[in-house]
Amino acid sequence: MKALVSQSFAARRGERVVVGMSGGVDSSVAAAMLVEAGYDVVGISMRLWGGDSDGGCCSLDDFLDARCVATHLGIPFYVMDFRDAFEAHVVRPFVAEYLQGRTPNPCTRCNQFVKFASFWDRARELGAQWVATGHYARVRRDAQSGAAELWCAVDDAKDQSYYLFAMRPDVLAWTLFPLGDSKKDEVRVRARQLGLPVADKPDSQEICFAPDRNYAAFVDRWAGRPSPSGAIVDETGEVVGRHAGVHRFTVGQRRGLGLSHGEPLYVTAIDATTQTVRVGPRSSTVAAGLVANRVNWLCAAPVAAGTRLRLKIRSRFAPCDVTLEEATREHFVVRAEAGLSAVTPGQAAVLYDGERVMGGGWIEQALACPA
């Protein structure tokens, strides 16, 4: 049995920790907990998006909140520009994926390429080895080897481990998630006790760079060309409608198809090469399993084929039992005994052993159920 030490505060007292501060409750409390733990804490707001006067994400108001919290905590604070990395690794792929008929997951890519890449680099430029964020997740470290493991947060409802599967293991080893052992309501209580000026700020939910949730309009703006229209086709191959671009659809979607049909129809597949959206009854959205590629393992080696694990294919998704059929460094294939509803290419497929994240990949295709 490995000895796993409690992990949220693995740095030694006095070590410098750079904490990402958004101006929200979670990252503010995370920063406060790091200060209490005796670290040399430096706060940074990441400027990811937008101009000087934009509302929503990265607005000057958010930075001002973060700056006031940092002042309240008595820590140095800086706003740093990560707009180039964010556009290149998050926004442009988001648009490209939608245009390829896939449903992107920008938060995971932001964690992979910006927060736990460029931001970690910046932390080390400032003489820190450790980074911290207000994510709800836990890092556990093997007392002997120091190898880091990613675990679910204690608060199931807030757990964000799904979005963190693509973190590089070497960065994970230097990452602190102070909120991993806390419940959200405890965090709000802490914020009030600490007198943080942001204690009652609402949680942010939507994708930060498209706060109006109108992703199709966002993609249209960025595509730089009109989206090709195409056919909506049912399971018999009959054209049952037209659509104004595949990026308006996601597998499993029922609303907004503009179809009148006896039984409810769902998007079952999207083919961007022919601009075809396939629809079918609910039963047709259930797959036997999936293929994922661009896999990131957060364990020493790929898990052996035949292992039973738990799988999440969306953030709000109760993990289901699966059997790993194939696993290499780059890809895996899993089958779910009970089937998987709405396997959505472009989303993350994350494998759990109990509460530990073993790794994950990007969904490439669904495996059809036997007829």
Partner: protein
């Protein structure tokens, strides 16, 4: 104890200045326009300060109008001199401060023609005499640049303007108190209090006697009708005191700043490869200003790293949110967009010592080396 090396952003208020100001925040609180004794005391203090400001730049007191600072002075100069109906052209440079660029952009939208004088790789205006224009044009030029310290050949520009019948506005906010500044040949000149040891929130505009200026703030006869509003007496008093000190100490100040500037440059280039000087050499640059780009080093990272080490400097490109965009000054000087984003400005002042320069150099060298190691690049310049 930290080291402050950002005097072009603002300079500490000198203790003598604070002492002069304090009575006017306490018992001598009068309104300078009031007829009673309290008002008279305030009025006398304001006029004494006006004389001190005028003396610093070789003007007469009646030609000095107090404002809220350099930005207001520049706005008042441009909007006060130029009316779209009468002025046909503004001539300026691409390296001016935003408080000149933005008013000029607004005037341009209103129909005023704008011409840009070319600058060389050090930010120096290359040709004035060849500039052929229908007078009367209005020239608006910064005496010394805030980001890189480049000093313009103001005497030549003034002579050319006079010969051609143009009006000349000079933004001397960064120059005054750092190099000799005289209003000779200049029609309108902007000054700021806090760059030379006075308090923030006060500035002045020199307006030559014969020049007509339309006020931009209306609602009172203060400042000979050029700028309505109750005078900020404590700040004006402090500004005047700072001008007297600056004038008296100018020679020694320039000598010691120049020595620190060059000492820092020697140490940085001795300790690091890929150090690019953005500030000009010798006396074509403010004696206190050294702007440098370190190849492969993001300006915002180095500014923060030095701040954590207790050294306050700035990245010339710092915008309101504190996140970097390329500096328009360095871009106009032909620097690459990386170098233009990453220029670091060291600006010395009276409080700095040679020991501090050694420490600034050592900490900068260490921080640059650390940042380059993270980036995995030595000198990518």
């Amino acid at each position: 104890m930290g080291i402050y090396c950002d005097h072009n952003a603002t300079a500490p208020v000198r203790p003598e200045v604070v002492d002069r100001m304090l009575p006017f925040l306490r018992e001598a609180f009068g309104n300078a326009s009031s007829v009673h004794a309290a008002g008279s005391r305030a009025r006398c203090a304001v006029e004494e300060a006006r004389a001190s400001v005028a003396a610093l730049v070789g003007a007469t007191p009646a030609e000095i109008t107090f404002t809220s600072g350099g930005t207001e002075s520049n706005n008042l100069a441009l909007f006060g001199l130029i009316s779209p109906e009468t002025s046909n052209c503004i001539v300026t440079t691409p390296i001016e401060h935003a408080s000149i660029r933005e008013p000029i952009a607004v005037l341009h939208e209103r129909g005023v023609a704008v011409e840009q004088l070319a600058v060389d790789t050090w930010g120096r205006i290359t040709a004035v005499s060849e500039h052929v224009l229908q007078p009367p044009a209005i020239f608006s030029v910064g005496w010394a640049n805030n980001e890189v310290g480049t000093i313009q050949p103001i005497a030549q520009i003034a002579a050319a303007c006079r010969q051609a019948g143009h009006l000349l506005h000079v933004d001397a906010v960064q120059a005054a108190g750092k190099i000799p500044v005289s209003v000779d040949g200049i029609d309108v000149l902007s000054l700021s209090g806090h760059k030379l040891g006075g308090p923030q929130g006060v500035g002045a505009l020199f307006v030559r006697r014969a020049v007509t200026l339309r006020p931009q703030l209306l609602g009172g006869a203060q400042e000979r009708g050029r700028r309505a509003g109750t005078e900020n007496v404590p700040a004006i008093v402090g500004f005047g005191a700072a001008c007297r000190l600056a004038a008296a100490e100018l020679g020694g100040y320039m000598e010691s700043c120049l020595a620190m500037r060059e000492e820092l440059w020697q140490r940085l280039t001795g300790g690091l490869a890929g150090v690019h000087r953005n500030s000009p050499l010798g006396t074509t640059c403010l004696p206190n200003t050294l702007n440098v780009s370190f190849g492969g080093v993001r300006g915002e990272a180095l500014v923060a790293a030095l701040d954590l080490d207790g050294v306050a400097v700035s990245s010339g490109s710092a915008c309101a949110a504190g996140a970097g965009a390329p500096s328009h000054v360095l871009e106009a000087m032909g620097r690459s967009s990386d170098a233009a984003r990453d220029g670091i400005r060291f600006s010395f002042g009276r409080g700095n010592t040679t020991e501090q320069v050694e420490r600034i150099a050592a900490l900068t060298i260490a921080a640059v080396a650390r940042i380059r190691a993270v980036r995995g690049s030595g000198d990518d310049a």
